[in-house]
């Protein structure tokens, strides 16, 4: 059976970053491959009932991943990720954004910087993802891409608002 590791999820109030950390029961090379090879990405990255379709991928600094999230109704949401730096198998940095089928980036939607770091933890691997956003408002569209209605939150409300008071 699979392990059920929790996700550490931290909103950094000072640096406007969202960090999450997750442990996986596999060696670092294999986890790295799952993050960086399109045929493996296509098998886990899409939300349930969605599928990932890679249009093109060029995994090197300066390269990109052009992909679509395909909804159950057949709708395609196209994404574009620029690879900024790559240090196998320690980590890589990207700039994410949305685009169309042709790979033309939608300048009206926010782009975010992502830094992925892979470290050993015994025989397991810990992946840390740090997302830097220009403003909390930038997240509306990104969050909406994968959102489902009807979920509720029980967390306190003002804490997160105050976390945005960095300007």
């Amino acid at each position: 059976m699979t392990n059920n590791f929790p996700v550490d999820f931290i909103l950094d109030k000072k640096n406007n970053t969202l960090t999450f950390r997750r442990e996986f029961a596999a060696r670092r090379q294999l986890v790295w491959d799952c993050y960086t090879q399109s045929e493996l990405l296509d098998r886990w990255y899409a939300p349930e009932n969605f599928s990932t379709k890679t249009r093109s991928i060029d995994f090197r600094a300066g390269g990109h991943w052009h992909y679509a999230m395909v909804a159950p109704n057949g709708n395609h949401a196209w994404g574009w990720i620029d690879f900024i730096t790559i240090n196998p198998i320690d980590g890589y940095a990207t700039l994410s954004g949305f685009c169309n089928e042709l790979g033309e980036i939608n300048q009206e939607l926010p782009r975010a910087n992502w830094v992925q770091t892979f470290t050993d933890k015994g025989k397991n691997t810990v992946v840390e993802t740090v997302i830097t956003f220009a403003s909390l408002a930038d997240w509306e569209t990104i969050a909406a891409m994968g959102m489902q209605e009807g979920m509720k939150s029980t967390l306190a409300c003002l804490d997160i608002l105050l976390a945005t008071l960095t300007a």
Binding site: T2, N3, N4, F5, V7, F9, L11, L18, F20, R22, F24, A25, A26, L30, V31, C34, L40, R43, W44, Y45, A46, P47, E48, S135, L136, A137, W139, E140, I142, A143, A144, G146, M147, Q148, M151, K152, S153, L155, A156, C157, L158, I160, L161, L162, T164, L165, A167
Partner: protein, 108 residues
Amino acid sequence: MRRDIFQAIADPTRRAIIALIALQPMTPNTLAEQFDITRQAVSKHLQILVECAVVSQQQHGREIFYQLELEKMKEIDQWLEQFRKIWDARFRQLDQLLVRLQEGKNDQ
């Protein structure tokens, strides 16, 4: 015009207004004293906050007080929580893929 919570917090002045009226309801005049911007500019921000339903107005005699609607603020938590859930589900899928890869069952 209906707006959403994210427009409310997109602007630093509006975030400051929210932080101030979170402590106590305030009139546009007392709010304007806190900022180096005109009363008109404060009113414009308040108007947007009202349209976002983050802030509501209450008439007390001749004065209008603006107060924070705490329920609306929870929307931010909700999408953060959804984002967390999406990644949690995604990581479980990766767990399963890793198990399959390690068992050598490369079932396409």
